[in-house]
Symmetry: C2
Subunit: 380 residues, 2 copies
């Protein structure tokens, strides 16, 4: 078999064997509907509620604050749309470097005159200006919420959840954080009740695709996005994805208990990769924050040249799977709204390499060796 | 191990080994994101598109008309909400015996003055009056759609999709059919383009939970319910549930190819069960249609007595899993809105036994023997 290196873990991650085996077990043994009151139903209910407990405990939340969804897209749509519809939110403060599931919801809310959006400045590292946020919140008389991603999916820049929670708490406004990229990678503690909503997708932390969750702080009682059988205590109707929920909880449990080790592996891998790039290639730019970033995301930009135009395709042909930005589009290589916003030179070519703890330095070496052939701007 | 008989297949069904194995294979081999343009992404994309093709071909639809969702609840919510929001629907014609995911959406639309709902009469078998529908459509000047379930989940009564499609087509109004209970059990042919929307949930036909689909006729271009990464050609954002989608397609394929055999097994099982009940117990009523019904649903009502009050619990203790109505609620035994609507005497006790082709006559015998002990109203 030819070489295949998967450096696109910010897009999605492989299932871990433990997760796979647990889902397999659940799928072969448990098939009741958790809403059924009989034996098979109760069996399924236990799986769902155990999973909820694992997530709640790991996030410092109560079990009543965790609701299972089909993923982070649904969760973020719920947080934003339902807050506007049910809690009288008139203005959302965010940035232009959010994930499309939030940006496109902003567009929808504005286009339909349901809410107005204020976009904070971001600097060339993708950081917001916390003072600007504070200032806007001081001046604002609308019913406001702040919506920011915890870790940026393209460049890895982190927002300080604690600091944001404090600012929002002081101004008595809700904070929604899209934490799809950070769940299972960063410790998140919601126990002080200062964050209104966070979201997660299992497939970003080695769990299954098609399942996620929303944390809804007990103080912010939105109404559901779906109407139906009143599952999830009325908040999210539809028969529960039992094995998916079970797999997500298992993946979350593993990610939490191994967080320190994984972070070490990822940080070393990233550092090694950066060093190799800087040692071997001229005019390399590492996009994103130099101070606060996700250890699994390395967004690197190469100077313009004929060769780099075909870089993504040639990497793919060489068996290296990386991304030019986010994966959430129609399978075409689009210009990145994030890179544009942080002032990235559009003539340069950016590749996002994103790792998991399963990747190795040997794989980095292979990528570097291939890049030697694919970009002529190497240091001679 | 003690006896466990699963007669609650209208609530949810066990995964078939073939489905389980295929999902297992996909889960172990394919982990790319279908939106990624590299090798791993393309692998995943192929799984999704192959699944779409299987569903489309089986339903007489084009692949562009099938969109994957988290289940039928989401699909039905989409059909109803988005038709009102995007296609100017002012009035929905339906009945009061629909599934809660439709009824609760009707309530939402009415409560928010988004649409008005007209409820058709249903007779004591759960059948609508087709002439009444035709009449209402003749008189109506609003922008109308008709929304009816294909097969009722509690009593099994079938609506005639072809006849409804014809009526709606003649009046130039859209028809939405919640086909969660009939997908994989009845032949459905959408090729004449007269049905606007149908919905399905994989777990109702031995596929996985947490995945379903909506058929959206090419002529009715609603906008999406979710906003995000523009997956599913922009109609349904969120990373695709690859193994779930694969499992659904496999389950659908099996259900389609085995439909005749399964229907025979189910019909015989139901007939045998009815005969046994009538031979052994007094004052038994079979709820629902006597002419057009799902072969897997048997809703039977017992005369009032002290014993039948505890019937569901005692069946459960005896290892028999059945339902008092639909499973889609908060795990409590509620009065059924369907039974109420068809004029069922609330003092009588209804049990819904629902089968799959995996059930046997021996299991029916066991249930009858247990019922002998649990209900004293037997024929002596």
């Amino acid at each position: 078999m030819s070489v295949r290196i998967y450096f696109d873990n910010a897009s999605t991650t492989p299932l871990l064997p433990e997760v796979f085996n647990y889902m397999h077990e659940v799928n072969s043994l448990i098939y009741g509907n958790p809403s059924s009151i009989h034996f098979f139903g109760r069996q399924a209910k236990i799986i769902v509620e155990d999973a909820r407990k694992i997530l709640a405990e790991g996030l410092g939340a109560s079990t009543g604050e965790i609701f299972f969804t089909s993923g982070a897209t649904e969760a973020n749509n719920m947080a934003l749309y339902c807050s506007v519809r049910d809690l009288g939110i008139q203005t959302i403060i965010s940035t232009k470097i959010e994930h499309h599931c939030n940006l496109h919801m902003f567009d929808y809310l504005e286009a339909n005159n349901l809410a107005s959006i204020k976009y904070l400045n971001v600097n060339n590292e993708g950081h917001i200006d916390y003072d600007q946020l504070d200032e806007i919140l001081c001046q604002n008389n609308d019913n406001v919420m702040v919506s920011l991603m915890h870790g940026n999916n393209e460049i890895g820049t982190l927002n300080d959840m604690e600091r944001l929670a404090e600012i929002c708490h002081n101004h008595n406004v809700m904070l929604h954080m899209d934490s799809a990229q950070t769940i299972g990678k960063m410790p998140i503690d919601l126990s002080d009740e200062k964050v209104a909503f966070i979201s997660g997708s299992a497939h970003k932390f080695h769990g299954p695709k098609g399942v996620g969750f929303i944390y809804i702080n007990n103080n912010n009682l939105i109404k559901p996005l779906f109407h139906g059988g009143d599952q999830e205590r009325g908040m999210r109707s539809g028969t529960e994805n039992i094995s998916g929920i079970a797999g997500m909880a298992k993946a979350f449990e593993l990610a939490s208990s191994e967080m320190e080790d994984r972070t070490k592996i990822l940080s070393e891998l990233r550092q090694y990769f950066v060093q190799q790039l800087q040692d071997n290639f001229e005019d390399i730019i590492i996009n994103g924050s130099s101070s606060s970033f996700l250890p699994n995301i390395l967004s690197v930009s190469f100077p313009p040249s004929e060769n780099v135009d075909m870089l993504m395709m040639n990497l793919d042909i060489s068996g290296i799977c990386a991304s030019s930005g986010s994966a959430c589009s129609s399978g075409v290589e689009n210009d990145s709204h994030v890179l544009e916003e942080i002032g990235h030179d559009p003539k340069r070519k950016t590749v996002r390499f994103s790792f998991s703890h399963l990747n190795t330095k040997k794989e980095v070496d292979y990528v570097i060796s291939k890049l030697h052939k694919l970009t002529p701007e190497r240091i001679s």
